[in-house]
């Protein structure tokens, strides 16, 4: 069974981000980059599927500039078999739809039985590429999945998708697109052997032209980034707990009108 995992490289949550000289983007100097955490759930799930079936191939795909190779290398170190890097300045302004179209073009060439991705990337939190990829491919999809099981002959997959108030369990015929929610699994750490082995695995560079694509103009664009409006200074309520609690409730009722 062939599985494609679509991943994104994002700034580490703990990294400070600053608005760049061009206010449409952040200043990337000094940023620590990681694989988006939801994508790690997707990678882990693909690897477990392959291990359970005793055969198959897991291919990590990512779109972005040269630095994205590092993220693909991490995916290979976790155990993915090979990687494809959609690396072309023509995609520099790609929005979620252009990204989905690029991924779809690669997926059509690779013809996997299953595509996994994270529920959203934690940089722009748009959470759209998985669903848009399914639409471009014309495949069924399930988002925010908490559990997954492919049947014995790899014809369908049973998934539990998280919805408000519960879990909806669906059978989807393959091929299909799934997006991983936290709770699906616990991603592994790469072993030393995995890290060493990853250096020998293939990362193939692909340009838009190789896929017969001319990336479309983006349908949405960042006009500019802004700092958060400052919150009014807070107040630490001092005193005995009994008095502090009384004062807090009074303030919440009378000053903040929050209760």
């Amino acid at each position: 069974m062939k599985i494609v995992v679509a991943i994104k490289q994002v700034p580490d949550t703990a990294t400070q981000v600053k608005i760049g000289g061009d206010p449409k983007a952040i200043d990337t100097a000094g940023i620590t980059w990681i694989v988006s955490p939801y994508d790690e759930f997707a990678i882990e799930e693909a690897l477990r599927l392959k291990e359970k079936r005793g055969q198959g191939e897991v291919i990590a795909v990512s779109l972005g500039p040269d630095r994205v190779k590092e993220a693909l290398r991490s995916a290979l170190a976790m155990g993915c078999d090979r990687a494809i890097h959609l690396n072309d300045p023509a995609w520099a302004n790609a929005d979620t739809l252009a990204t989905a179209q690029a991924l779809a073009a690669v997926i059509k060439q690779e013809q996997p039985a299953l595509v996994l991705c994270g529920r959203q990337a934690i940089d722009d939190d748009m959470g759209a590429v998985g669903a848009q990829l399914a639409e471009v491919l014309g495949w069924p999809c399930a988002s925010w999945i908490m559990e997954e099981a492919v049947d014995a002959d790899a014809k369908s997959v049973r998934v539990g998708r998280q919805v408000e108030g519960g879990l909806e369990v669906f059978d989807l015929p393959l091929p299909a697109v799934l997006s991983a929610q936290k709770g699906l699994n616990e991603p592994r750490y790469p072993t030393l052997k995995g890290i060493m082995g990853a250096k020998k695995k293939e990362i193939k560079d692909v340009k838009a032209g190789d896929l017969g694509l001319t990336p479309a103009a983006p349908q949405v664009a960042v006009k500019n980034l802004e700092a958060l409006p400052a919150r009014p200074p807070g107040r630490v309520i001092q005193g005995e707990i009994k008095d502090a609690v009384k004062e807090l409730v009074r303030a919440l009722r009378e000053d903040a009108k929050a209760i």
């Binding site: 949550t13 703990a14 981000v17 608005i19 952040i26 939801y38 979620t96 739809l97 989905a100 934690i122 940089d123 722009d124 939190d125 748009m126 759209a128 998985g130 669903a131 848009q132 399914a134 639409e135 069924p140 999809c141 399930a142 988002s143 925010w144 998280q162 919805v163 108030g165 519960g166 879990l167 909806e168 369990v169 669906f170 059978d171 015929p173 929610q181 936290k182 983006p218 349908q219 949405v220 664009a221 960042v222 980034l225 802004e226 700092a227 009014p232 807070g234 107040r235 630490v236 309520i237 707990i241 609690v245 009384k246 807090l248 409730v249 303030a251 919440l252 903040a256 929050a258 209760i259």
Partner: protein, 327 residues
């Protein structure tokens, strides 16, 4: 010329729109005046529900009622609504952020070749163009988004936009268009309901109580639930508490959990790691109780008490009880 602003209806699966629709319709009304229409894909639309949408400002309600629309499946909803979009050319399509709406609207945007601003926290006209504001990079920055063309598609974060007042006199024209409904390839096996806590849903609650690592163990959340019952609050948890196995993941507030924006957030034993702040920093009033005066959450808190939460929580619950008994 396209003028209508469409609001996709999120419902309770029992025939009534959720109250978050008052916010979506209210915001659409602020931008578009009378050109606001509700679009409801459902297996069951009650007359009261349709009336309610009108009272919240929809001049027209498009009712697409069919058993095939429940449960939500992207491959069924998207072609059906895309057909209506092609006929009616709305200027904007808005929906509240819920798990299914996030997928639906993204997939719809791909089918229409249109742009999407997900999880928007502000919308404004600049000249003839809509500009959306949305948090990015764990909520550390805000991005202003513009669209290349209409329809402008956006999802709206709950509890952020001012809800429309319900005007009983207003009623909506009802349209029941016929659209082609494709056969689903995916199939529902079962729906597993969560055991109800009896408290509001995290993303919809006006008040949210959150317990962090300072709660010391799963057995102690009962004191937060007791407070929740008194003030009608949802009870959530930080990632540290969820990763420790104290609470199921559905209660996690933060970057890899739920994003909330309540009127009042009360954090107990929550340190305020960046990834937690990402999920709650748009809360209107933030209260923090933590033993550690250096806890980062105090930097964004409106009110703080530096003390042991196990002393504060019971006292605070009593004080809330006293206040609410009085009023």
């Amino acid at each position: 010329m396209a003028t209508a602003y469409w609001c996709i209806v999120e419902d309770d699966r029992k025939g009534s729109p959720k109250k978050v629709m008052a916010e979506v319709l209210g915001e659409a009304g602020r931008l578009a005046g009378a050109n606001v229409e509700a679009v409801w894909l459902t297996d069951k639309a009650s007359d009261e529900g349709i009336k309610q949408l009108g009272a919240w400002g929809a001049s027209k309600v498009w009712v697409l009622e069919n058993a095939a629309f429940a449960p939500y499946m992207g491959e069924v909803w998207v072609p059906a609504l895309a057909e209506l979009v092609a006929k009616e050319s709305p200027k904007a399509i808005f929906a509240p952020v819920t798990s299914r709406m996030r997928e639906f609207v993204a997939r719809l945007a791909a089918r229409l070749g249109a742009g999407l601003s997900a999880d928007s926290v502000a919308l404004a006209m600049e000249g003839d163009a809509l500009v959306a504001t949305r948090p990015v990079y764990a909520g550390k920055l805000l991005a202003k988004m513009t669209w290349a063309k209409t329809p402008w598609i956006a999802t709206l974060r709950p509890n952020v936009f001012k809800p429309a007042e319900s005007a009983a006199g207003k009623s909506a024209q009802v349209e029941k268009p016929s659209v082609k409904i494709p056969a689903a390839r995916m199939k529902l096996v079962e729906r597993r309901e969560e055991v109800s806590t009896g408290l509001p849903e995290l993303t919809e609650a006006e008040i949210v109580i959150s317990g962090g690592r300072g709660m010391k163990g799963p057995e102690n959340y009962v004191i937060l639930e007791d407070m929740g019952k008194v003030i009608g609050a949802a009870v959530g948890a930080s990632r540290a508490a969820v990763d420790a196995g104290w609470r199921p993941h559905r209660f996690q507030i933060g970057q890899t959990g739920r994003t909330i924006s309540p009127k009042l957030y009360l954090g107990f034993g929550v340190s305020g790691a960046i990834q937690h702040l990402a999920g709650m920093r748009t809360s209107k009033i933030i209260v923090a109780v933590n033993k550690d005066p250096e806890a980062p959450i105090f930097k964004i808190a409106d009110y703080g008490i530096v003390a042991d939460l196990f002393e504060v929580v019971p006292a605070l619950t009593d004080e809330f009880k006293r206040l609410l008994d009085k009023s």
